[in-house]
């Protein structure tokens, strides 16, 4: 009972209101926006960003960052598509993809936590390394999915009952799971504690290194799931997939109230951040605003939102 009340904390309420305002605005200004088809499409599109944002937020709450997720998106698509093509099994491809993702997460985590190299630097380096490997392996040409499995196609493009995109369902299922974990499990609370006040957490006897390592793995595995969705949608492993993706995710997560310092913010907020930016993009598109303006608007929203947040913090 307590936990449900906690979901509607002050910060998220404000975000939710913003979301509603934006939603209503576009519903009235564009005749195309408020249609089942459009909204379902949007939810399918934002699934990719949402899943990665959840992983990023989990790690950020624990006090670390991973800015290589964009390159990871392209990187793990390689084993996915290749193994699928080779073994003609979608399941094996997915498993390979997730394993690669987990391994990268372990490497990032090991370097950051055990070798004590700042996670910013480690993942900045990894950003280059992974992108480079992708370019190398693919020769800068996309590797297409030759299997043409219906199942694989449906993951990213299919719709339940022809209406609700499977991608959106997957994303919201993952969101629900992690919302629960972060709020209601000992593990989730420890992540908050470590990010919030590492010294207190240490004195409380938490195994900080191990827990942070696991957060890195969660981040990259979730990004791998995003990669699967993306590969399904574009039908190939593309060498420029995920370009500047990490910036999109950071923007959404910060807009959603997750603090860069760690220990503060919720996945609900991060999800709202993703949704708000997605709706704004889509809504502007429906109003025939060119996509370049959308980027501009994104940027301005972020500055205003974070600026407001700072003002609020100063006053308290």
């Amino acid at each position: 009972m307590y936990s449900i009340l906690q979901y509607l904390k002050k910060g998220e309420l404000a975000l939710f209101i913003i979301f509603l305002i934006v939603f209503v605005f576009f519903s009235f200004s564009s005749e195309y926006f408020f249609s089942l088809r459009n909204l379902m499409n949007v939810s399918g599109q934002l699934a990719i960003t949402l899943i990665a944002a959840i992983g990023f937020a989990v790690l950020l709450i624990a006090g670390e960052v991973d800015i290589s997720i964009g390159s990871l998106l392209a990187f793990v698509a390689l084993p996915l598509i290749q193994i699928m093509n080779l073994t003609e099994s979608v399941a094996l491809g997915i498993i390979a993809c997730l394993i690669f993702g987990a391994v990268i997460g372990l490497i990032n985590g090991y370097l950051s936590v055990y070798l004590r190299i700042s996670s910013l630097i480690v993942t900045l380096g990894m950003l280059f390394i992974l992108r480079g490997i992708v370019y190398l392996y693919t020769g800068q040409r996309p590797i297409s999915d030759d299997l043409y499995s219906d199942f694989f196609f449906n993951i990213g493009n299919g719709k339940l009952l022809g209406v609700v995109p499977y991608a959106a369902i997957i994303a919201f299922l993952i969101l629900a799971v992690f919302l629960f974990v972060m709020r209601n499990t000992s593990y989730g609370r420890k992540l908050y504690a470590i990010g919030g006040n590492a010294e207190v957490a240490r004195l409380a006897g938490y195994n900080i290194k191990l827990i942070k390592l696991s957060a890195f793995v969660i981040c990259s595995v979730l990004s791998s799931i995003s990669a699967i969705l993306l590969a399904s949608r574009i039908g190939s492993a593309n060498h420029i997939a995920g370009d500047l993706f990490e910036f999109q995710v950071v923007a959404a997560v910060v807009l959603g109230g997750v603090s860069l310092a760690g220990g503060i913010g919720t996945l609900a907020g991060a999800a709202l951040g993703v949704m708000i930016l997605a709706i704004v993009s889509n809504g502007l598109g429906m109003l025939n605003v060119e996509s370049q303006w959308q980027m501009v608007v994104n940027g301005i929203i972020i500055i205003i939102a974070v600026g407001f947040d700072e003002l609020k913090r100063k006053k308290s």
């Binding site: 609370r189 504690a193 919030g196 006040n197 207190v200 957490a201 004195l203």
Partner: protein
């Protein structure tokens, strides 16, 4: 850990020395279970050093600590906690974004087999805990939404929960309202009933008589007295705390009709200061006394332009300023030596020379470049003058001892020609020998016409140097005295009003 059988903590002949300063000199006391033991003394008397030793943050040089009849060693904060010693500081060691309940159960959340939190159980046990200590609190409230007094209680509750035998409280009431203090005392009484010993550090004498069973007074690192509460009185305690022979004053020329150099009028800040007003004459040394939290540092920072002023203004030689920053103040001849050497004073990536010349770099400029030779010469001059212990002026500032760092920070401002210098605890951490030099230097500066705002807790410095003394409490000036016409007791009493 030993909560029910625990009888006493015996601190025997503890000494602790820092380079140039004897923080604790042969101090002994016995803290009994189920009793409140008060520890009193001025700033710098040695109280916080003693606490840090008990908390495992410092190691003692000499002496022994006994838990009942067992000698114990405390080498780390973990040791201290395991032994059942819990220190409740002003800065809380809780997770601000967590609720009360989550903080209590931080070490081990109540979960089922799969690691899922049993919130109901957590909050119920939490409520029981708070009932036990006699305090009403919303246990599912976020710590950051609680008042300071409530946060303190949570810390205390956490200590009980972790089966502490001794709870050390460091100035617990300095930010509390009378009502909150009553509630705290209620909690303390409940702790006593549960056989927990309390070491209660404070300046406030009236509180001691309300809550304590025994009183220990420290002065300048030495044990002055150890008495049951019914064998002492306010007079005795004050005398114990400040009763020392004041060293001979510096020769101060009378300030008669000297021109006004600084006027502070109705200075108010959002956080602390309330309508502070005073004047400062040329060549005058104005001392400011007050307890922790009285607002002296806030006043200093507000005058210097570091903190924003919400009301009021200052005038320097007639020129009025109502909104200003540090850059402006420095250009108008004001300097500032901080009390927070580590956090606000030294620039840790720079060496001694660079730290020393930082506020006055424009005087070392040749065309576009900084004249390093001139810098080195002047730095070496001051290293010699203040006897700063360092192999050279190129040494990284972080490698110097605290006292020597302080000397560098002082010299920083002497390189400029200032009208006014604001000194916040200038002799903190400086050894006795250098102290006299520093004080005598301040006196010389004043003689040459510099005006000094001297924020200090050192009674000695205050009385021997100041012309006038302002006593602050709660962000206001409570009293003004002429230094040749006041006793230490009067000053002290004014600061606790």
């Amino acid at each position: 850990m030993f909560s029910n059988s625990f009888q006493f903590l015996h601190i025997k002949e503890i000494s602790k020395e820092f380079p140039g300063v004897k923080a604790l000199d042969n101090v002994s006391m016995k803290i009994k279970a189920g009793k409140v033991h008060a520890l009193m003394g001025e700033n710098g008397a040695g109280k916080s050093t003693l606490i840090k030793i008990l908390a495992g943050a410092y190691s003692k040089d000499k002496g022994k600590i006994f838990f009942d009849d067992n000698e114990i060693s405390i080498n780390s904060p973990n040791d201290s906690l395991k032994l059942g010693i819990k220190v409740v500081y002003q800065e809380i060691s809780l997770i601000p974004e967590f609720t009360v309940g989550e903080n209590i159960f931080l070490e081990k959340f109540p979960t089922n087999r799969f690691g899922i939190l049993k919130w109901k159980k957590l909050y119920k046990e939490c409520k029981d805990l708070f009932n036990k200590i006699g305090f009403n609190l919303k246990v599912n409230e976020k710590i950051s939404n609680l008042s300071i007094s409530e946060q303190q209680i949570v810390e205390i509750a956490r200590a009980i929960f972790q089966k502490a035998s001794i709870v050390v409280m460091d100035e617990p009431t300095s930010s509390l309202t009378p009502n909150e203090i009553k509630k705290l005392f209620n909690v303390i009484n409940n702790l006593k009933k549960n056989n927990i010993a309390i070491l209660y550090i404070t300046h406030k004498i009236d509180e001691i008589f309300q809550i304590a069973d025994e009183v220990t007074v420290l002065r300048d690192g030495k044990l002055i007295s150890n008495r049951p509460i019914n064998q002492t009185s306010e007079e005795i305690l004050v005398n114990d705390m400040v009763g020392r022979a004041v060293e001979s004053s510096f020769e101060r020329t009378l300030i008669a009709n000297k021109e006004n150099v600084l006027t502070v009028k109705n200075l108010t800040t959002k956080t602390k200061l309330k309508n502070v007003s005073f004047d400062l004459s040329k060549g005058e040394i104005l001392g400011f006394f007050g307890l922790m939290g009285a607002g002296r540092t806030e006043l200093a920072k507000a005058i210097y332009g570091y903190d924003k002023v919400s009301n009021g203004f200052i005038e320097i030689e007639g020129k009025r300023f109502s909104a200003f920053n540090t850059s402006t103040m420095v250009k108008n001849g004001i300097g500032y030596v901080t009390e927070d050497r580590k956090g606000e004073g030294i620039v840790k990536d720079m060496n001694l020379r660079e730290n020393m010349t930082l506020p006055s770099l424009e005087f070392f400029e040749n065309l576009f470049f900084v004249n390093r030779i001139k810098e080195k010469n002047i730095s070496n001059e001051y290293i010699k003058k203040f006897d700063v212990k360092t192999p050279s002026c190129e040494r990284l500032i972080t490698l110097l001892s605290g006292g020597n760092q302080q000397k560098v920070l002082l010299s920083r401002w002497l390189l400029r020609e200032l009208k006014i210098i604001i000194l916040d605890e200038p002799t903190r951490g400086v050894d006795i020998g250098a102290k006299t030099e520093v004080l005598s230097l301040i006196n010389d500066l004043a003689k040459e016409g510099m005006s000094v705002l001297l924020m200090t807790s050192e009674m000695n410095d205050l009385l021997s140097l100041s012309d006038r003394i302002m006593v602050m409490a709660n962000g206001e000036i409570k009293a003004e005295f002429l230094s040749n016409n006041v006793t230490q007791e009067e000053i002290f009493k004014a600061s606790v009003s």
